[in-house]
């Protein structure tokens, strides 16, 4: 067992001739919360897609709990304890909130492809789903189709599905994108609450969220992690100021 939950070693990724990720390196300790910031097109979402197995890397290595996850399909990486959310809401529209969450807990409870268990007889899956539903505050929307939820509720469900399987490494891709200030505050509280004791990687544009949530901030510019440090030091980092904000330090709020 390595000391790092997640480790990126000199990762490269190109699509055709364009290199999106060029030598990104990052080490995330167990239980740490890291925010990834960077200008548009820096490759933040691509980095998440590489870590979660949606795309394969061109070169380099990605270690999850000390073991390489290169060339593994997403479901295999998920089974090894990494779960992610999506920037564009990615839920099961025609299933109810409860069913969305129940689907998300089934594999981790070992039911696999079972067609000999009766779903309603699976108390553990039911309790787990109810539990998550309580945490994300959608209890009274239990039987509503996910497609009918409000945007903020869908984002909360997105986080719920991500954490439901009990993975200990969580990747959240812009969880507060498109939210109002109060919705976003609630989402941050939710994220803080549900990721206690877990390793968290979060892509975020909102500096308020970033500074409020992260133990360390990683700055990604043109496919490279140019700095990774505690928030107060990132603010004063000359390289970050120049590359990311054109000379203006990230400001809170």
């Amino acid at each position: 067992m390595s000391q790092y939950s997640l480790e990126l070693q000199d990762v490269y990724k190109s699509f055709g001739k364009s290199e999106i990720i060029r030598g990104a390196a990052l080490q995330v300790a167990t239980g740490e919360r890291i925010a990834i910031i960077g200008p548009n097109g820096a490759g933040k979402s691509t980095l998440f897609n590489l870590i979660s197995g949606r795309f394969g890397v061109s070169s380099g290595d990605i270690l999850l709990n000390g073991k390489s996850v290169l060339d593994l399909p997403p479901y295999e990486i998920n089974r090894r304890g990494l779960s992610r959310s999506f920037q564009i809401t990615n839920i099961f529209h025609r299933l109810s909130v409860f069913e969305n969450l129940r689907c998300a807990v089934l594999w981790s409870l070992g039911y696999k492809y079972s067609f000999w268990h009766r779903l309603n007889g699976l108390k553990d899956a039911q309790e787990r789903a109810e539990d998550i539903m309580e945490q994300i505050g959608l209890k009274r929307r239990r039987d509503v189709s996910a497609g009918l939820l409000t945007y903020a509720e869908q984002r909360a469900l997105e986080i719920g599905i991500t954490i439901a399987g009990g993975a200990d490494v969580i990747l959240l891709d812009e969880p507060t994108a498109g939210m109002s200030r109060s919705e976003s505050d609630a989402a941050v509280e939710l994220i803080r609450k549900v990721t206690i004791g877990k390793t968290l990687l979060i892509v975020e544009h909102d500096m308020g969220v970033v500074f409020g949530l992260a133990d360390r901030i990683a700055v990604l510019v043109y496919g490279e992690v140019i700095a990774c440090d505690i928030p107060s030091k990132i603010r004063g980092n000359a390289k970050v100021q120049e590359a990311y904000l054109g000379g203006h330090a990230p400001v809170e709020g």
Binding site: S52, N90, R94, L95, C103, W107, W116, H117, N120, D143
Partner: protein, 433 residues
């Protein structure tokens, strides 16, 4: 239909116990032949039974898994071939296999080919999946003419379902005994397929239908989910094929054709893919439109096609969704409000339909039969001369009256229907702005 706290069937109108519904279903199966006891109705009921199993199994893919298969007759057809060979072998005394268990042979055979072909087809999803299934059904159909030893060439394989010692006097010679055999298998298969929707795999295939990408990120291999569902579906298809073989005592290459696959797709869609019981309705209406209507008019295929198009365009959820939407309106106590305009629209549609049917029937008679049978024919009790203008004018007049009436009533119906359903959806949303 079935109520429980699952919400995939979210329009479940009444919270009746599951037992009540299943008992009612069993009761209907038992008394149906006593109510419909005229002429060929027993044979029609038997056909409906086999097609119900087929359509329900097909809907495991289409409705529950979002997989559009054009080649499902492969599984029912090959199941039927294995079943009929087993019947012949058992008839010769080569193997021991009582007739009531023959459907199991068909099921296992269907499942075997599900394992075989499904491995290839479920590697892909969406349009690619549909294309590959079409390829496979053409492949199997071509093979059926290439290997006459097994498939019997163009004449097919015939058999006799009466063999072995009668058990309690049941020989399976009379149609009524075959009907009850089919009803029995229909009942267990329906329970089996409904139970499937209540299992982890049955729920995850819904998730795969809604959003396959996300399923990969909650630990499931979507390809495996589709593959396993297809294998189970193929099992029930095989049962249906075997029952058809017992019913007709013959299996031909048509059983493994794209035509047969298309028919089950049509029936399932007409019935409604969004509800578990939709395919049951689809099988009833489908067999009615093909077999029963075929006895009355040569234009049955035209009516089937037109009906299918109307369903796809105006009620894409099928007959099941029409029923459930109206029940939902009734459940929220608003049926009184829509009833007058609903009745007006229905009556005007029927008048329009009558005009169209008269027109089509006269046209068919005039172009196809007038040379050999004369230009006169009976229509709804009247003698109509299709060469004279009177009949055409009457048909045209009826149609125009219906059309005018329809256009007058359509607007108000749409308004009320829209209002009522918006109100109900707001209520369901739980007062959320």
């Amino acid at each position: 239909m079935m109520t429980s706290n699952t919400t995939t069937m979210k329009y479940s109108p009444l919270n009746l116990g599951r037992w009540l519904i299943w008992s009612f279903f069993a009761l209907v199966l038992i008394i149906a032949p006593m109510i419909f006891d005229k002429g060929a109705s027993l044979s029609i009921l038997s056909q409906m039974g086999t097609i119900m199993i087929f359509a329900l199994a097909y809907n495991m893919l289409l409705g529950q898994g979002g997989m559009l298969s054009f080649g499902h007759a492969v599984y029912s057809g090959l199941g039927a071939y294995f079943a009929i060979h087993a019947m012949n072998l058992a008839g010769n005394g080569a193997i021991w296999m009582p007739l009531p268990l023959i459907p199991l042979i068909g099921g296992v055979a269907g499942m075997f080919f599900g394992v075989l072909f499904g491995y290839v087809t479920t590697k892909k999803s969406g349009t690619t999946f549909a294309m590959i299934t079409l390829g496979i059904v053409e492949l199997v159909h071509a093979c059926s003419l290439m290997f006459p030893g097994f498939f019997g060439g163009e004449g097919g394989i015939a058999s006799n379902r009466v063999y072995g010692e009668p058990f309690l006097g049941i020989t399976y010679g009379p149609q009524i005994q075959v009907y009850y055999l089919i009803a029995f298998w229909l009942f267990i298969s329906t329970i089996g397929m409904y139970a499937f929707t209540q299992t982890p795999l049955g729920r995850v295939i819904n998730a795969v239908r809604d959003n396959p990408e996300r399923v990969e990120f909650i630990g499931y291999n979507t390809q495996r989910v589709r593959y396993m569902t297809l294998i189970l579906s193929a099992f029930f298809c095989g049962i249906s094929g075997a029952l058809a073989a017992i019913n007709f005592e013959i299996v031909t290459d048509e059983n493994v054709s794209a035509f047969r696959s298309g028919a089950v797709l049509l029936f399932t869609f007409i019935g409604g893919v969004g509800f578990f019981f939709g395919p049951i309705l689809g099988a009833i209406v489908g067999i009615f439109l093909t077999v029963v209507l075929g006895d009355f008019t040569k234009a049955w295929l035209l009516y089937l096609g037109a009906f299918f198009i109307i369903v796809v365009m105006y009620a894409p959820g099928g007959l099941a969704s029409l029923i459930m939407l109206n029940l939902r309106v009734a459940k929220f106590g608003r049926f009184k409000r829509i009833f007058p305009s609903l009745a007006a629209v229905s009556v005007s549609s029927v008048i329009m339909l009558l005009g169209v049917v008269l027109f089509i029937e006269m046209l068919y008679h005039f172009t196809l039969e007038s040379l050999s049978y004369g230009t006169e024919r009976q229509l709804f009790g009247f003698t109509v001369d299709t060469a004279a203008p009177t009949g055409w004018l009457v048909a045209g007049a009826i149609f125009i009256v219906g059309l005018v009436f329809f256009r007058m009533t359509k607007k108000s119906f749409q308004l009320v229907w829209g209002d009522v359903n918006t109100e109900i959806e707001e209520l369901i949303k739980g007062g959320k702005a």
